[in-house]
Amino acid sequence: MAAEEVKLLKTWSSRFGLRVVWALKLKGIQYDAIDEDLSNKSALLLQYNPVYKKVPVLVHNGKPISESLVILEYIDETWKQNPILPEDPLEKARERFWAKFNDEKLLPSIWGAFTKEGKEREEAIAAAVENLKFVEEELKGKKFFGGEKIGLADLAFGWLAYLICVFDEVTGFKIVDERYPLLLAWMQEFSQLPIAKDNCPPHDKLVIKYQALYEKLHPAK
């Protein structure tokens, strides 16, 4: 069998890159990690992702794929062990719907609450509260979004498990609070998974990074 070559272009802190790491670890796939400096993008990154010039990029036997959710589906179709999508088309659709909801609604609203000021921040917080309600509802009767085991949606939401506490610490404002007991329980369960425990960026390093960003965006008056 020909040697398989799997490379992952990411950064140490990229929450989208981390999803791909989790999927590769879940399936026991060996890969070379290439950490990019986004202030000085490598020629390789620009060659492999000319459209977005972003991480993550998965390169499988020389062929590049960008966009983390597209990469996750590719990984699932190429390496069949420990599937992250169910067989049933309706259940698959549900996983895709919620992964999309995280990327298009939940994450941007929480990011807005972190980065914006004044009225824009209030609107972002209001949106986040709405979005979190839906997520909480979806978790009723389930351990993970995927049921008993994690799936695509869990990988998409996974950033909450290690990054929300960083945002809480930096801003002094708790966005995922006791109104969302199921989500808080899910965050605990997710962070205890071997793939998460062994593969999250160091908390202290994240606090330093986001503290610096926060101060830059919200200079003390």
């Binding site: 459209v51 499988h60 062929k63 794929i65 960008s66 966009e67 959710l69 597209v70 990469i71 589906e73 590719y74 179709e77 190429t78 088309p89 309706l90 698959k92 659709a93 549900r94 895709r96 719907f97 999309k100 909801f101 839906f134």
Partner: protein
């Protein structure tokens, strides 16, 4: 066993037409329910799509699915004839990548180019042209993005295939032209005239009138805002 397939949509929405197109490609019979999304969303729509409260919503034997590209992938996996995605996982990933690019970059850029306030117009048009240029290169000499037949990316790009020409007529600009983007322009003709597509497009006059009214409404709001 009788299959129950329903689509909740609106006549002018490219998103609900994507779902109808996928069903037509697969020869699946369905019931269509027109929603009044501006005036009066039906209780059924709000029940079946409580998260987004939008069309399209797809109902298969009572089970609802929302988000047009999620629905299209469900249709692909449920009815196997006339596939709209390639078998090969890498080619499939490329199709999904381009469909996402259309949804997340092209469509917002095109909409902005036609409805931005004057002072933002030039930048919006430039961004829209960049998107069309990228899409043109993705076509890469093929008849359709899907190759010889309409596939996922063609379905996702339906706004560009048909709606855009009317939108730009209403907005008074010329983003997609044969001179600037010959391959994409030709594709839009191929797409909107191919048999499975052409009978399920909204009527030209009605759509043009809708866009004209929308753009006039945006301009009026701008004028009021600056007075």
């Amino acid at each position: 066993m009788a299959e129950e397939v329903k689509v909740f949509g609106t006549w002018g929405s490219p998103f609900s037409r994507r779902v109808e197109l996928a069903l037509k490609i697969k020869g699946v019979k369905y019931e269509y329910i027109e929603e009044d999304v501006y005036g009066n969303k039906s209780p059924l729509l709000l029940k079946y799509n409580p998260v987004h409260k939008k069309v399209p919503v797809f109902l298969h034997n009572g089970k609802p699915i929302a988000e047009s590209l999620v629905i299209v992938e469900y249709i692909e996996e449920t009815w196997k004839g006339n596939p709209i995605l390639p078998e090969d996982p890498y080619e499939k990933a490329m199709a999904r990548f381009w469909a996402k690019f259309v949804d997340e970059k092209c469509l917002p850029a095109l909409w902005k180019a036609g409805s931005s306030p004057e002072n933002e117009r030039a930048k919006a048009v430039e961004e829209a042209c960049e998107c069309l240029k990228t899409l043109e290169s993705a076509l890469n000499g093929k008849r359709f993005f899907g190759g010889d037949t309409v596939g996922l990316v063609d379905i996702a790009a339906n706004f560009i295939g048909y709606w855009l020409r009317l939108f730009q007529e209403a907005a008074g600009h010329d983003l997609l032209s044969a001179e600037k983007f010959p391959a994409l322009f030709k594709w839009s003709d191929e797409f909107s005239s191919c048999s499975v597509v052409k009978d399920s497009l909204p009527p030209k006059d009605k759509l043009l009138a809708y866009f004209k009214a929308h753009i006039a409404g945006t301009k009026a709001a701008e004028t009021n805002a600056s007075n």
